[in-house]
């Protein structure tokens, strides 16, 4: 079965996977799941919950400098999951 990549960005409360999701973005969600990733509440409570649901971790944040503390949401984790093309 043909597959395509579904990418999930989670910005967590700290640079630890078991902290709460504060922001998120999803690209490539299957049509039946699009609303889950585009709703008012995050699709997972923590990054660990995403792992438990079958997501693979692609990227984790390195050290976040104090100068960046009042800027972007720094604790970005990127996941992927291959989804069947329906």
């Amino acid at each position: 079965m043909a597959e395509r990549q579904h990418v999930l960005h989670l910005w967590l409360a700290a640079a630890a996977l078991d902290t709460d999701v504060k922001a998120w973005a999803s690209h490539g969600a299957p049509p039946g799941e699009a609303r889950r990733f585009d709703g008012p509440e995050p699709p997972y409570r923590t990054g660990v919950d995403a792992l438990a649901d079958g997501w693979s971790l692609l990227q984790a944040p390195g050290p976040i400098g104090i100068d960046a503390a009042n800027g972007e949401l720094g604790c970005e984790f990127v996941f992927e999951r291959n989804e069947p093309i329906e």
Binding site: T19, K22, A23, N70, G71, E72
Partner: protein, 313 residues
């Protein structure tokens, strides 16, 4: 500290913001005033907005404005904007004048305005962005009035914004990545609602899933005077806490500090402290009190190496 009820000088009918509202603006970067424009005036504005939109689009395309009336130039005084129009009547309402006076002062200047029109069912959705593309660390700020002349239903895709993000130093390039942030709001409210944003507040136009076209008039204003004690400061002496107010020591729950400490769901514990420091800096600017503090954060930074007390610690 002197008690200065000076915000209404020259405009006694203006309904100024309270200290509570000003502190909330510093903490959230937004205030919302439901149904402050009467329905009859809303209808007049709705009839006017298509021609105003045509003017804005013509200028963007380098064309002369339809009707031949030149648009206002940047720097035009607020009380001279779009004279003879229904929009001017909205801007002359005592509540609106008071909001503007309290935040950007007498003689506030026109930066620009725009009309946002989204047809029913239109899927257009902006990326999340501040309107501070080129900005400095100066605490002076512009405000943007978002005027909704018709009702926006809950779930109707009204303007999205994230309270408390206005003092973050970011670029639109970065915030575009966040499709959703916990605690984000979508405007919904009755006709005639006006929201006022700090120019740094993260926001975005949202798609219109509803059955009616959506119209929004947006106006950006610059201050022309220092933004110091321009609101109704009659209760400021009582609310403006001393720099010793500390949440882990002695704290007054009725103080401005209690408002500035409010957190938003998107903030982690650490992040909320950095944001609090920026709010303290802004409150210092607004009150003209360089010694103001909450939880001793800036007092500590202001006295590096000598903060051991008289006994030497």
């Amino acid at each position: 500290m002197a008690s200065l009820h000076d915000g209404g000088v020259g405009d006694p009918d203006a309904i100024l913001l309270t200290t509570n509202e000003m502190a909330t603006f510093v903490a959230d970067g937004v205030l919302v005033f439901p149904a402050v424009v009467p329905d009859a005036l809303n209808r007049l504005v709705l009839a006017e907005l298509p021609s105003l939109l045509a003017e804005k689009l013509a200028v963007l395309q380098g064309q002369p404005p339809p009707g031949g009336v030149p648009p206002p130039a940047t720097g035009t005084p607020f009380d001279e904007l779009r004279c003879g129009t229904a929009i001017a009547e909205v801007l002359a309402l005592p509540r609106v004048r008071g909001i503007v006076h309290s935040l950007v002062g007498p003689g506030a200047r026109y930066d620009h305005d725009f009309v946002h029109h989204l047809r029913a069912g239109h899927p257009n959705r902006q990326h999340l962005h501040p309107d501070a593309i080129v900005d400095s660390a100066d605490p002076a700020f512009d405000v943007q009035l978002f005027y909704y002349p018709h009702e926006v239903a809950a779930g109707g895709g009204g303007t999205r914004y994230v309270p408390g993000t206005h003092l973050r130093r970011v670029t639109s390039t970065t915030t575009a990545r966040y499709q959703h942030v916990v605690g984000e709001c979508f405007h919904a409210g009755p006709a005639g609602t006006i929201a006022v944003f700090h120019h740094g507040l993260w926001h975005a136009g949202h798609d219109n899933p509803g059955p009616v076209d959506r119209w929004l008039y947006k106006l950006r204003l610059n201050p022309a005077v220092p933004q110091v004690r321009l609101w109704d400061t009659s209760d400021l002496d009582r609310r403006h806490n001393p720099p010793t107010d500390h949440v882990f020591a002695a704290a007054d729950p009725s103080s401005v500090a209690a408002i500035l400490r409010r957190t938003h769901r998107w903030q982690s514990t650490d992040a909320s402290r950095y944001d609090l420091v920026e709010r303290i800096r802004l409150w210092r600017h607004l009150t003209g009190d360089p010694g103001y503090d909450v939880d001793r954060y800036l007092t500590r930074l202001d006295r590096p190496g000598i903060d051991l007390g008289a006994d030497g610690g």
